[in-house]
Symmetry: C2
Subunit: 328 residues, 2 copies
């Protein structure tokens, strides 16, 4: 039970779907062994507990399809039992409110990842949509130490340049960018500079490539071959061992969810984030990645592009698993 099946595993290091038995079955059908799911964007402590309760009811109701994983051993066990291992994360530090003691509480409840910001300035760091990037705050430095101590992974997917570079520097453990792409391929506030990618990889960190159209060259019309070329170019720059997938798939979500992601409770004027007033909703997924059954398309694309079988295994999940071994 300590061994991977075929020395291979499929891990998606970020999704926020409108969860349903249909989607759980698609994970199974698509051979997705482990998914990092977001359980908080703007929720405070008590509200996030309610989200956890919802997941407890999913685990209770669909025990043949999904299981809550606390460790790498749990993930491997799930693979052997033909279930998808679910690991939890936050896209914002709102669930710890102003209370550092909540980091350990959340760790005990199985939270594996926490972003220090979600687009805006937080109590900990600066988000990628702010004009002024003041880096990691006083509380941010303390929370990084505490996350390092308890074994919760720092995620800077939605953070600004300086804050991300400082997080890499201040953290005694490798950090993650669970879902974003390189800026050199598609300039977007959410995509990452070469400086960040190089420093991240040098320090043992990981980036998960996003399939969210606003992060893709040509958006919804992005071609699979272009996505695979971007992966190849990134590998050329920073090596293969620090890359994986973090699809940012938001399957079946109604448009009011993306509106809430962008606006939370922080603004009275509507913010359109990566969208526009003409296109305020979720963008269409590329036709080759619409749901959890489409991971095979990425594998095929990587193979067609010329990646070796072992390299494809690394990208599709083995690198994330190795990172989890060091991090949890």
């Amino acid at each position: 039970m300590n061994e991977l099946q075929n020395n291979s595993i499929v891990i998606d290091c970020l999704q926020y779907a409108n969860w349903s038995p249909k989607i759980f079955k698609q994970m199974h059908e698509g051979g997705v062994d482990c998914i990092h799911v977001t359980i908080a964007y703007h929720e405070n402590f008590r509200e996030t507990i309610l989200n956890l309760e919802k997941w407890n009811s999913y685990f209770l109701n669909y025990p043949d399809l999904i299981v809550h994983a606390h460790s790498v051993a749990d993930i491997i066990k799930a693979q052997h039992e033909n279930k998808t291992a679910i690991i939890f994360g936050f896209q914002n530090p709102s669930p710890i409110e102003d209370d550092i003691g909540l980091v350990e509480i959340w760790k005990k409840l199985g939270i594996k990842f926490m972003q220090l910001t979600y687009n805006n300035q937080s109590l900990l760091a600066t988000g990628c949509y702010e004009n002024n990037d003041t880096g990691i705050t006083r509380m941010g430095k303390e929370v990084i130490k505490e996350m390092n101590r308890v074994g919760m992974v720092i995620d800077m997917s939605h953070s600004s340049e300086i804050s991300t570079l400082e997080a890499i520097e201040f953290s005694s453990r490798p950090i993650s960018i669970t879902h974003a792409n390189p800026e050199f391929w598609h300039p977007a506030k959410r995509n990452k500079s070469n400086t960040i990618l190089k420093k991240l990889s040098k320090n043992g960190g990981m980036i998960g490539f996003s399939l969210y159209p606003h992060h893709l060259k040509n958006g919804s019309n992005c071609e699979l071959n272009d996505f695979c070329k971007m992966i190849a170019d990134t590998v050329d720059m920073i090596g293969i061992e620090c890359i994986g997938i973090g699809s940012d798939l938001c399957q079946d979500q109604p448009d009011n969810v993306v509106e809430w992601m962008r606006n939370g409770r922080w603004t009275k004027e509507k913010d359109f984030g990566e969208g526009t007033s003409e296109n305020p909703g979720f963008p269409d997924q590329p036709n080759w990645f619409k749901n959890n059954t489409d991971f095979k398309n990425i594998k095929t694309g990587l193979n067609d592009y010329g990646f070796s079988e072992e390299e494809i295994k690394d990208i599709m999940g083995r690198n994330w698993l190795n990172f989890f071994k060091k991090s949890f």
Copy 2:
């Protein structure tokens, strides 16, 4: 590591001290292997999380003396490492508020016991100080099922007659009365009827004998021999396998704590509970049981009364350990 040292263990199934390194050292000195500590009386969910955070800092600061135990294996490991295993419980269901989903959340955070009431009517059952005993409520029945499912022990120490009898009946697992004495020995609202004791033991439940003076014959002047005779008389009635110690020790607490225990946020007029307006504070402990170094006195008392060595081991902790094996 699966075996008890000398096939013997000391477990106190309830304390609420004003925790300090002094007390942690006394536990160690007194050879107390495991203590069930109360972490909530009237606190709501968020407030109880703060209490848990306080305990996390104790575990961090005194790792040589105490350790949080989640299982019987953890308790036995602690004994081998010469530490006191701490298990958590609530004396009131206030930490689950009106939300049954919080039972599983608390279970994951290591809560092993929950009282369905603390003296007053709760959302779940009737407390021992109410005039009208309406038994287990609709929500109470659902929470009993959920506690049974996740493995959290029902504690009826502060509950009324009918509610306690119904809890025993409705629960599919044995329940506990962690800290109380028999009414036949000392009539008090908090002590338990023969009917309860017989039904409790018949269903595999446990009672922990209290050393809190208001539960003792002659209060602070109770004699050790009288306490041991009470134990012998209880054994004669219900057998030895369902009894243990639940001292209710509130060492070093200032009197405003007992005032808060009694009044919480539910009354504007002061309630004196088991005390009186002339004696509103904590009563003095009997001189033979003042702190965690005094468990040896109980052992001596039981021996002098005529209990065998094996019977003393059962009473001092082995029975609780067997109950934990079935219950956690």
